[in-house]
Amino acid sequence: MVAAANGVSFDVYTGETLGLVGESGSGKSVTCRSILRLVPHPGEIIAGSVVFGGRDLLGLNGRELRRVRGSEISMIFQDPMSSLNPVYTVGDQIAEPLRIHRKLTRRQARMEAVSLLDRVGIPSAAERLEAYPHEFSGGMRQRVMIAIAISCKPKLLLADEPTTALDVTIQDQILTLLRELQGEEGMAIVLVSHDLGVIAQASSRVTVMYAGYVVEQAATPALFHRPQHPYTVALLNALPELAVQRGDRRLIPVKGQPPDLAALPPGCPFAPRCPYAREQCETEVSMALEDVGHGHVTACPFHAEVGL
């Protein structure tokens, strides 16, 4: 058994964007999917709770859960080509949640679909309703995904690497669009990304994950300027942007290899790669989060020594 996400806790508030950052295998996607109980087989959620507006989503039956999915909480994924159905028109796919959740008639749903496409910035929306996903570019498909996701005015939008497959100018367009929609609708966003640049620009608070654990959480400026966990410090130091700023030809890499989730050390999973590690880190560190002030939490008991 492999623990992909281990004792992960966080809160998201109305109107805010929480960034969930980590490298491959850190558990950020599994965490995000667990919120809607979309963990792929043979994965299981074995403990915990997901409280949304006072209800525990993990305790809902299938019918109740379906009422939440795509309506109160919706999700967009990395690759819009594989999350859109290739054999239905874009119009049909936007209309589906409108008819199911908002009980609109076919006509009403169609009109609403046009206005949604228009809102996400797809030109001549009425004509594009009959198009199939393959007729759209990557950026346009992601706009369609977003139109579907916001169609029932969700309170929470889960965005799992929404711009990773896109070029940088298109990424910029999509992030701007999400920001505008959030401003209008006041929805909360959980933004999963491996890209610290995207996280810095788009989120108000950040949760950093490593090997299935939350290692640090803070308001975005505090996390980037006063990181309190050695892994966060190592990640920031490894960025080429910061080497350019330092005027340094050398990058500061994180030593060692990414963790093997099937063979984690009993203590802190980052200990084998950590420049601050001492003997007890490999055996005794519990990964409990300590508050260092203003809601800034870290899993490193030796955070006082840690800094950029």
Binding site: E23, S24, S137, G139, M140, D167, V168, T169, I170, Q171, D172, Q173, L175, T176, H194, D195, L196, G197, V198, I199, A200, Q201, A202, T220, P221, F224, H225, A234, L235, L236, A238, L239, P240, E241, L242, A243, V244, R249, R250, L251, I252, P253, V254, K255, Q257, P258, R273
Partner: protein, 334 residues
Amino acid sequence: MSADRTPLLEVSDVRKTFAARRPLADSVRRRPGLRAVAVDGVSLTVGKGERLGLVGESGSGKTTLARSILRLIEPDSGSIRFSGQELVGASRGDLQSVRRRMQMVFQDPYSSLNPRMKVGTAIAEPALVHHVIPRNRAKDHVAELLDLVGLPASSADRYPRQLSGGQRQRVAIARALSVQPEFLIADEPVSALDVSIQAQILNLLDDLLERLGLGMIFIAHQLAVVRHVADRVAIMYLGRIVETGSTDQVFQDPQHPYTKALLAAAPVPDPTVVRTRSATAGDMPSPLRIPSGCRFRTRCDYAEERCQREDPPLLSITEGHHAACHVRPFDHER
């Protein structure tokens, strides 16, 4: 960076198009199909020991250009000279010796390494094929290369799947260096790697290039990575180089509106940086239908009437800095 300016590689006016699929009715009537223009008259030079960064979004033609240079595909026209030798139209025999001197590192080491071949065999193979070393030296050769890229000698007996992504990219680099090349083309070599591993590989490439005096074309879409690695930069858009210059010139004083758009769009890992301009609108046009005149005009904030009619040539801005834009640099600030 000490870079000798005698060009090792000279690419001039290379063009490569691909046939697009056409409807059956058109083929039956023998109507000519559309052609996608992937590389449209690109010229560049790379000196011995110099590192040229090639930047562009997907579909800009950077990979097609790289493949043309290695003659993995044959360009439609133009000239590619490697230390004076013409490669376009060269025979297989002539290419054989050049291929040893120019090697490529790909984005995804998992698909560029044979999953059934042990790491040691994969590294030795090109050296044996090119007779760089005698067969009885293969083992030592592999051990030296593994050491060079920072892997333990025991890795030789492992299969690619037993290694992590970063380790596999080290193997791919060792394999490229196995034939003692003078020039590397690295196509997005760190894009598939996590940030913590990316820095290891970039430092390794930097060390090796410096130590072995290799030149390199470094293809990437991550601007910060290119800025860190390259001496000179060429920005590609829809098959053309739209701006080129030293890394400092291009990053600190960008002249082409597309370069400016790219720089503005790149997310900065610093939350105190406030965005100063709005996102560039639209998508890159299809290479089947390249706009008339300037190919960036459909997305350009500064486009004028003339941009629709005239295709702007690369004009010199300052020594070594060129941009293909009609609207003069100062006008961009209006």
